[in-house]
Symmetry: C2
Subunit: 215 residues, 2 copies
Protein backbone atom coordinates (compact mmCIF):
# COMPACT_ATOMS: atom_id res chain seq x y z
CA UNK A 1 0.00 0.00 0.00
CA UNK A 2 1.51 3.31 -1.06
CA UNK A 3 0.51 6.19 1.05
CA UNK A 4 3.01 8.99 0.68
CA UNK A 5 2.32 12.09 -1.36
CA UNK A 6 -1.42 11.68 -1.20
CA UNK A 7 -3.09 15.07 -1.34
CA UNK A 8 -5.44 16.30 1.34
CA UNK A 9 -8.24 16.48 -1.19
CA UNK A 10 -7.91 12.77 -1.94
CA UNK A 11 -7.82 11.92 1.76
CA UNK A 12 -10.98 13.95 2.33
CA UNK A 13 -12.77 12.12 -0.45
CA UNK A 14 -11.98 8.67 0.96
CA UNK A 15 -14.63 8.75 3.72
CA UNK A 16 -17.18 9.81 1.08
CA UNK A 17 -16.22 6.83 -1.07
CA UNK A 18 -16.52 4.60 1.97
CA UNK A 19 -20.03 5.88 2.76
CA UNK A 20 -21.09 5.44 -0.85
CA UNK A 21 -19.67 1.92 -1.05
CA UNK A 22 -21.35 0.97 2.24
CA UNK A 23 -24.59 2.24 0.78
CA UNK A 24 -24.13 0.23 -2.44
CA UNK A 25 -23.17 -2.89 -0.51
CA UNK A 26 -26.27 -2.59 1.67
CA UNK A 27 -28.33 -2.55 -1.55
CA UNK A 28 -26.71 -5.82 -2.59
CA UNK A 29 -24.49 -4.35 -5.33
CA UNK A 30 -21.25 -6.22 -6.01
CA UNK A 31 -19.40 -4.28 -8.69
CA UNK A 32 -19.44 -0.70 -9.92
CA UNK A 33 -17.69 1.09 -12.79
CA UNK A 34 -15.85 4.36 -12.29
CA UNK A 35 -18.39 5.91 -14.71
CA UNK A 36 -21.37 4.97 -12.59
CA UNK A 37 -19.66 5.77 -9.30
CA UNK A 38 -18.67 9.13 -10.73
CA UNK A 39 -22.21 9.98 -11.80
CA UNK A 40 -23.59 9.08 -8.38
CA UNK A 41 -20.98 11.13 -6.56
CA UNK A 42 -20.65 14.13 -8.85
CA UNK A 43 -17.05 13.30 -9.77
CA UNK A 44 -15.51 12.47 -13.12
CA UNK A 45 -14.56 8.83 -13.79
CA UNK A 46 -10.97 9.90 -14.39
CA UNK A 47 -10.84 11.64 -11.02
CA UNK A 48 -12.04 8.47 -9.35
CA UNK A 49 -9.48 6.34 -11.17
CA UNK A 50 -6.80 8.82 -10.24
CA UNK A 51 -7.83 8.91 -6.57
CA UNK A 52 -7.76 5.15 -6.25
CA UNK A 53 -4.51 4.82 -8.15
CA UNK A 54 -2.77 6.80 -5.37
CA UNK A 55 -3.08 3.69 -3.25
CA UNK A 56 -2.42 0.99 -5.82
CA UNK A 57 -4.59 -0.79 -8.34
CA UNK A 58 -8.11 -1.72 -7.30
CA UNK A 59 -10.09 -2.00 -10.52
CA UNK A 60 -9.89 -4.02 -13.68
CA UNK A 61 -10.16 -2.25 -17.02
CA UNK A 62 -13.69 -2.60 -18.38
CA UNK A 63 -14.83 -4.65 -15.45
CA UNK A 64 -15.30 -2.09 -12.69
CA UNK A 65 -14.47 -2.24 -9.03
CA UNK A 66 -15.33 -5.01 -6.64
CA UNK A 67 -17.29 -3.10 -4.00
CA UNK A 68 -16.46 -5.33 -1.10
CA UNK A 69 -12.69 -5.37 -1.61
CA UNK A 70 -12.66 -1.65 -2.36
CA UNK A 71 -14.45 -0.97 0.96
CA UNK A 72 -11.95 -3.08 2.84
CA UNK A 73 -8.99 -1.40 1.15
CA UNK A 74 -10.28 2.09 1.84
CA UNK A 75 -11.11 1.17 5.43
CA UNK A 76 -7.57 -0.12 5.85
CA UNK A 77 -6.08 3.01 4.30
CA UNK A 78 -8.18 5.16 6.63
CA UNK A 79 -6.94 3.21 9.63
CA UNK A 80 -10.36 2.11 10.86
CA UNK A 81 -10.36 -1.02 12.98
CA UNK A 82 -6.95 -0.31 14.44
CA UNK A 83 -8.72 -0.02 17.78
CA UNK A 84 -7.58 3.51 18.56
CA UNK A 85 -8.69 4.55 22.02
CA UNK A 86 -11.00 7.53 22.43
CA UNK A 87 -12.45 9.59 25.26
CA UNK A 88 -15.12 12.26 25.34
CA UNK A 89 -14.22 15.54 27.02
CA UNK A 90 -17.49 17.32 27.83
CA UNK A 91 -20.52 15.17 28.63
CA UNK A 92 -23.11 17.80 27.71
CA UNK A 93 -25.83 17.60 25.09
CA UNK A 94 -23.48 17.49 22.12
CA UNK A 95 -21.12 14.89 23.56
CA UNK A 96 -24.01 12.75 24.74
CA UNK A 97 -25.61 12.94 21.29
CA UNK A 98 -22.35 11.86 19.64
CA UNK A 99 -21.92 8.83 21.86
CA UNK A 100 -25.59 7.82 21.80
CA UNK A 101 -26.40 8.30 18.13
CA UNK A 102 -23.25 7.64 16.24
CA UNK A 103 -22.12 4.06 16.36
CA UNK A 104 -18.99 4.92 14.42
CA UNK A 105 -17.44 6.29 17.60
CA UNK A 106 -17.86 2.92 19.22
CA UNK A 107 -17.24 0.65 16.23
CA UNK A 108 -13.60 0.22 15.36
CA UNK A 109 -12.45 2.36 18.26
CA UNK A 110 -11.95 1.57 21.89
CA UNK A 111 -14.16 4.08 23.69
CA UNK A 112 -13.05 4.50 27.30
CA UNK A 113 -15.53 6.98 28.76
CA UNK A 114 -16.28 10.65 29.27
CA UNK A 115 -15.03 13.51 31.43
CA UNK A 116 -17.00 16.44 32.79
CA UNK A 117 -16.75 19.24 35.31
CA UNK A 118 -20.37 19.03 36.51
CA UNK A 119 -20.72 17.16 39.86
CA UNK A 120 -24.29 16.17 38.95
CA UNK A 121 -23.11 14.02 36.02
CA UNK A 122 -19.76 12.74 37.35
CA UNK A 123 -20.17 9.10 38.39
CA UNK A 124 -23.12 8.60 36.07
CA UNK A 125 -22.80 7.09 32.60
CA UNK A 126 -23.61 7.64 28.92
CA UNK A 127 -24.89 4.48 27.34
CA UNK A 128 -22.95 2.44 29.85
CA UNK A 129 -19.70 4.41 29.53
CA UNK A 130 -18.52 6.05 32.77
CA UNK A 131 -18.39 9.82 33.27
CA UNK A 132 -15.26 10.77 35.21
CA UNK A 133 -14.22 13.97 36.95
CA UNK A 134 -12.33 16.22 34.56
CA UNK A 135 -9.72 16.66 37.32
CA UNK A 136 -8.57 13.13 36.52
CA UNK A 137 -8.27 13.80 32.78
CA UNK A 138 -4.50 14.34 32.62
CA UNK A 139 -3.45 11.25 34.61
CA UNK A 140 -6.01 9.10 32.75
CA UNK A 141 -4.74 10.14 29.31
CA UNK A 142 -1.16 9.59 30.39
CA UNK A 143 -1.76 6.22 32.00
CA UNK A 144 -4.03 4.76 29.31
CA UNK A 145 -2.07 6.37 26.47
CA UNK A 146 -5.32 7.65 24.97
CA UNK A 147 -5.17 8.26 21.21
CA UNK A 148 -8.15 10.52 20.52
CA UNK A 149 -9.99 13.13 22.61
CA UNK A 150 -13.41 14.21 21.37
CA UNK A 151 -13.64 17.79 22.61
CA UNK A 152 -17.21 19.01 23.14
CA UNK A 153 -16.79 21.53 25.93
CA UNK A 154 -17.96 25.15 25.83
CA UNK A 155 -15.71 27.54 23.96
CA UNK A 156 -14.34 29.26 27.05
CA UNK A 157 -13.01 25.95 28.44
CA UNK A 158 -11.58 24.68 25.16
CA UNK A 159 -8.01 25.95 25.33
CA UNK A 160 -7.41 25.09 28.98
CA UNK A 161 -8.51 21.48 28.45
CA UNK A 162 -6.50 21.32 25.25
CA UNK A 163 -3.42 22.33 27.24
CA UNK A 164 -4.10 19.50 29.71
CA UNK A 165 -4.57 17.01 26.88
CA UNK A 166 -1.41 18.12 25.09
CA UNK A 167 0.65 18.01 28.29
CA UNK A 168 -0.61 14.48 28.91
CA UNK A 169 0.46 13.23 25.49
CA UNK A 170 -2.85 12.97 23.63
CA UNK A 171 -2.23 12.05 19.98
CA UNK A 172 -5.29 13.59 18.30
CA UNK A 173 -8.11 15.99 19.12
CA UNK A 174 -11.46 15.91 17.35
CA UNK A 175 -12.58 19.46 17.98
CA UNK A 176 -16.27 20.46 18.16
CA UNK A 177 -15.76 23.69 20.09
CA UNK A 178 -15.99 26.03 17.11
CA UNK A 179 -12.73 27.64 18.12
CA UNK A 180 -9.16 27.26 16.83
CA UNK A 181 -7.05 25.30 19.31
CA UNK A 182 -3.40 26.07 19.92
CA UNK A 183 -1.43 22.85 20.31
CA UNK A 184 2.14 23.99 19.73
CA UNK A 185 4.79 22.83 17.28
CA UNK A 186 4.84 19.10 17.96
CA UNK A 187 1.34 18.93 19.32
CA UNK A 188 -1.38 16.40 18.49
CA UNK A 189 -3.30 16.20 15.25
CA UNK A 190 -6.41 18.38 15.31
CA UNK A 191 -9.49 17.91 13.18
CA UNK A 192 -12.17 20.53 13.68
CA UNK A 193 -15.84 20.37 12.85
CA UNK A 194 -16.97 23.89 12.04
CA UNK A 195 -20.75 23.71 12.01
CA UNK A 196 -21.11 27.29 10.91
CA UNK A 197 -19.09 26.76 7.72
CA UNK A 198 -21.63 24.32 6.45
CA UNK A 199 -24.60 26.54 7.33
CA UNK A 200 -22.94 29.43 5.51
CA UNK A 201 -22.50 27.34 2.37
CA UNK A 202 -26.23 26.62 2.48
CA UNK A 203 -27.02 30.28 2.97
CA UNK A 204 -24.75 31.20 0.07
CA UNK A 205 -26.75 28.98 -2.25
CA UNK A 206 -30.08 30.34 -0.95
CA UNK A 207 -28.87 33.88 -1.54
CA UNK A 208 -27.76 32.90 -5.01
CA UNK A 209 -31.23 31.55 -5.80
CA UNK A 210 -32.81 34.70 -4.43
CA UNK A 211 -30.59 36.83 -6.60
CA UNK A 212 -32.00 34.97 -9.57
CA UNK A 213 -28.88 33.22 -10.58
CA UNK A 214 -28.62 29.59 -11.48
CA UNK A 215 -28.34 27.06 -8.70
Amino acid sequence: MKRSNVSNNVIRRLPRYLRKLDDLASKGEERISSDKLGRQMGLTPSQIRQDFSCFGEFGQQGYGYNIDSLRKEIGQILGTYRGYSAILVGAGNLGTALVQNFDFIIEGYSFLGAFDVDPSVIGRDIDGFPIYDVKDLGPFVREKKVDIAILTVPRHAAQELTDTLVASGIRAIWNFTNTELEVGENGPLVESIHFSDSLLVLTYHLAQLDDGEKK
Copy 2:
Protein backbone atom coordinates in the same frame (compact mmCIF):
# COMPACT_ATOMS: atom_id res chain seq x y z
CA MET B 1 -20.80 41.72 -7.17
CA LYS B 2 -20.09 38.90 -9.58
CA ARG B 3 -21.15 35.54 -8.40
CA SER B 4 -21.54 33.21 -11.33
CA ASN B 5 -19.02 30.52 -12.17
CA VAL B 6 -17.60 30.42 -8.70
CA SER B 7 -16.30 26.94 -7.95
CA ASN B 8 -17.51 24.90 -5.01
CA ASN B 9 -14.00 24.89 -3.58
CA VAL B 10 -13.96 28.66 -3.44
CA ILE B 11 -17.40 28.76 -1.82
CA ARG B 12 -16.26 26.28 0.80
CA ARG B 13 -13.22 28.39 1.61
CA LEU B 14 -15.26 31.56 2.18
CA PRO B 15 -16.53 30.58 5.66
CA ARG B 16 -12.94 29.77 6.63
CA TYR B 17 -11.83 33.21 5.49
CA LEU B 18 -14.68 34.72 7.47
CA ARG B 19 -13.69 32.88 10.65
CA LYS B 20 -10.07 33.91 10.19
CA LEU B 21 -10.96 37.55 9.56
CA ASP B 22 -13.26 37.59 12.60
CA ASP B 23 -10.38 36.24 14.61
CA LEU B 24 -7.97 38.90 13.28
CA ALA B 25 -10.51 41.67 13.85
CA SER B 26 -11.05 40.54 17.44
CA LYS B 27 -7.28 40.89 17.94
CA GLY B 28 -7.46 44.47 16.72
CA GLU B 29 -5.81 43.91 13.33
CA GLU B 30 -6.87 46.25 10.54
CA ARG B 31 -5.05 45.14 7.41
CA ILE B 32 -3.48 41.92 6.21
CA SER B 33 -1.48 40.98 3.14
CA SER B 34 -2.32 37.93 1.06
CA ASP B 35 1.14 36.59 2.00
CA LYS B 36 0.45 36.70 5.70
CA LEU B 37 -3.12 35.48 5.37
CA GLY B 38 -1.87 32.61 3.24
CA ARG B 39 0.76 31.57 5.77
CA GLN B 40 -1.79 31.58 8.58
CA MET B 41 -4.30 29.55 6.60
CA GLY B 42 -2.02 27.14 4.77
CA LEU B 43 -2.90 28.59 1.36
CA THR B 44 -0.70 30.26 -1.24
CA PRO B 45 -0.98 34.05 -1.62
CA SER B 46 -1.90 33.58 -5.27
CA GLN B 47 -4.74 31.24 -4.35
CA ILE B 48 -6.10 33.83 -1.95
CA ARG B 49 -5.87 36.61 -4.55
CA GLN B 50 -7.54 34.33 -7.08
CA ASP B 51 -10.35 33.38 -4.66
CA PHE B 52 -11.14 36.98 -3.83
CA SER B 53 -10.93 38.09 -7.45
CA CYS B 54 -13.91 35.82 -8.23
CA PHE B 55 -16.05 38.37 -6.47
CA GLY B 56 -14.42 41.60 -7.58
CA GLU B 57 -11.45 43.55 -6.32
CA PHE B 58 -10.93 43.80 -2.58
CA GLY B 59 -7.24 44.49 -2.11
CA GLN B 60 -4.76 47.11 -3.15
CA GLN B 61 -1.45 46.03 -4.62
CA GLY B 62 1.27 46.21 -1.98
CA TYR B 63 -1.12 47.45 0.66
CA GLY B 64 -3.02 44.33 1.67
CA TYR B 65 -6.67 43.86 2.46
CA ASN B 66 -8.77 45.95 4.78
CA ILE B 67 -10.00 43.32 7.22
CA ASP B 68 -13.25 45.02 8.11
CA SER B 69 -14.45 45.62 4.56
CA LEU B 70 -13.32 42.16 3.49
CA ARG B 71 -15.39 40.62 6.30
CA LYS B 72 -18.43 42.61 5.27
CA GLU B 73 -18.02 41.68 1.61
CA ILE B 74 -17.62 37.98 2.34
CA GLY B 75 -20.58 38.05 4.74
CA GLN B 76 -22.68 39.67 2.03
CA ILE B 77 -21.56 37.12 -0.56
CA LEU B 78 -22.42 34.30 1.82
CA GLY B 79 -25.87 35.75 2.36
CA THR B 80 -25.62 36.12 6.12
CA TYR B 81 -27.90 38.73 7.61
CA ARG B 82 -30.60 38.18 5.06
CA GLY B 83 -32.76 37.00 7.96
CA TYR B 84 -33.50 33.57 6.55
CA SER B 85 -35.96 31.72 8.77
CA ALA B 86 -34.92 28.45 10.39
CA ILE B 87 -36.53 25.71 12.43
CA LEU B 88 -35.08 22.75 14.29
CA VAL B 89 -36.56 19.34 13.54
CA GLY B 90 -35.62 17.03 16.40
CA ALA B 91 -35.25 18.57 19.86
CA GLY B 92 -32.97 15.86 21.25
CA ASN B 93 -29.45 16.23 22.61
CA LEU B 94 -27.88 17.25 19.33
CA GLY B 95 -30.55 19.78 18.34
CA THR B 96 -30.57 21.25 21.83
CA ALA B 97 -26.79 21.56 21.79
CA LEU B 98 -26.88 23.36 18.44
CA VAL B 99 -29.44 25.92 19.59
CA GLN B 100 -27.88 26.44 23.03
CA ASN B 101 -24.21 26.60 22.14
CA PHE B 102 -24.01 28.05 18.70
CA ASP B 103 -25.07 31.63 18.47
CA PHE B 104 -24.62 31.61 14.71
CA ILE B 105 -27.96 29.83 14.37
CA ILE B 106 -29.63 32.72 16.08
CA GLU B 107 -27.53 35.59 14.75
CA GLY B 108 -28.41 36.63 11.25
CA TYR B 109 -31.23 34.13 10.98
CA SER B 110 -34.77 34.22 12.21
CA PHE B 111 -35.08 31.15 14.41
CA LEU B 112 -38.72 30.15 14.83
CA GLY B 113 -38.61 27.13 17.13
CA ALA B 114 -38.27 23.37 17.27
CA PHE B 115 -40.39 20.30 16.48
CA ASP B 116 -40.35 16.95 18.21
CA VAL B 117 -42.33 13.73 18.47
CA ASP B 118 -41.83 13.25 22.21
CA PRO B 119 -44.89 14.37 24.28
CA SER B 120 -42.63 15.06 27.28
CA VAL B 121 -40.81 17.87 25.44
CA ILE B 122 -43.64 19.27 23.27
CA GLY B 123 -44.85 22.54 24.80
CA ARG B 124 -41.54 23.13 26.57
CA ASP B 125 -38.79 25.33 25.16
CA ILE B 126 -35.10 25.44 24.25
CA ASP B 127 -33.52 28.67 25.37
CA GLY B 128 -36.89 30.39 25.09
CA PHE B 129 -37.78 28.96 21.67
CA PRO B 130 -40.96 26.85 21.65
CA ILE B 131 -40.99 23.10 20.97
CA TYR B 132 -43.98 22.19 18.80
CA ASP B 133 -45.59 18.86 17.95
CA VAL B 134 -44.00 17.38 14.83
CA LYS B 135 -47.55 16.74 13.54
CA ASP B 136 -47.79 20.47 12.92
CA LEU B 137 -44.52 20.62 10.98
CA GLY B 138 -46.00 20.62 7.45
CA PRO B 139 -48.60 23.36 7.95
CA PHE B 140 -46.09 25.48 9.90
CA VAL B 141 -43.47 25.32 7.15
CA ARG B 142 -46.07 26.11 4.51
CA GLU B 143 -47.67 28.98 6.39
CA LYS B 144 -44.46 30.66 7.59
CA LYS B 145 -42.59 29.90 4.35
CA VAL B 146 -39.68 28.55 6.37
CA ASP B 147 -36.33 28.73 4.56
CA ILE B 148 -34.10 26.29 6.46
CA ALA B 149 -34.82 23.11 8.42
CA ILE B 150 -32.07 21.87 10.73
CA LEU B 151 -32.62 18.12 10.74
CA THR B 152 -31.36 16.39 13.88
CA VAL B 153 -33.72 13.41 14.16
CA PRO B 154 -32.64 9.76 14.42
CA ARG B 155 -31.65 8.11 11.17
CA HIS B 156 -34.80 5.99 10.87
CA ALA B 157 -37.04 9.08 10.94
CA ALA B 158 -34.91 11.16 8.57
CA GLN B 159 -36.48 10.35 5.20
CA GLU B 160 -40.11 10.54 6.36
CA LEU B 161 -39.60 14.00 7.84
CA THR B 162 -37.66 15.05 4.77
CA ASP B 163 -40.66 14.07 2.66
CA THR B 164 -42.92 16.24 4.85
CA LEU B 165 -40.51 19.16 4.60
CA VAL B 166 -40.16 18.84 0.83
CA ALA B 167 -43.96 18.58 0.34
CA SER B 168 -44.37 21.73 2.43
CA GLY B 169 -41.96 23.76 0.33
CA ILE B 170 -38.89 23.97 2.55
CA ARG B 171 -36.03 25.66 0.69
CA ALA B 172 -33.02 24.13 2.38
CA ILE B 173 -32.19 21.27 4.75
CA TRP B 174 -29.17 21.28 7.00
CA ASN B 175 -28.76 17.56 7.55
CA PHE B 176 -27.18 16.08 10.69
CA THR B 177 -28.71 12.62 10.39
CA ASN B 178 -25.63 10.93 8.89
CA THR B 179 -27.78 9.56 6.08
CA GLU B 180 -28.25 10.64 2.46
CA LEU B 181 -31.64 12.32 2.01
CA GLU B 182 -33.69 11.91 -1.14
CA VAL B 183 -35.32 15.21 -2.07
CA GLY B 184 -36.25 14.67 -5.72
CA GLU B 185 -35.38 16.63 -8.86
CA ASN B 186 -36.48 20.12 -7.86
CA GLY B 187 -36.17 19.58 -4.15
CA PRO B 188 -34.54 21.84 -1.57
CA LEU B 189 -30.84 22.46 -1.16
CA VAL B 190 -29.25 19.94 1.19
CA GLU B 191 -26.06 20.43 3.13
CA SER B 192 -25.00 17.44 5.19
CA ILE B 193 -22.66 17.29 8.13
CA HIS B 194 -20.99 13.91 8.10
CA PHE B 195 -19.31 13.62 11.47
CA SER B 196 -17.72 10.30 10.62
CA ASP B 197 -15.84 11.72 7.61
CA SER B 198 -13.90 14.03 9.84
CA LEU B 199 -13.09 11.31 12.39
CA LEU B 200 -11.84 9.08 9.57
CA VAL B 201 -9.51 11.81 8.31
CA LEU B 202 -8.06 12.01 11.82
CA THR B 203 -7.68 8.25 11.99
CA TYR B 204 -5.98 8.23 8.58
CA HIS B 205 -3.32 10.60 9.86
CA LEU B 206 -2.83 8.61 13.07
CA ALA B 207 -2.40 5.42 11.05
CA GLN B 208 0.07 7.20 8.82
CA LEU B 209 2.14 8.26 11.84
CA ASP B 210 2.02 4.72 13.18
CA ASP B 211 3.23 3.36 9.88
CA GLY B 212 6.26 5.56 10.30
CA GLU B 213 5.59 7.85 7.38
CA LYS B 214 5.80 11.59 7.43
CA LYS B 215 2.88 13.52 8.81
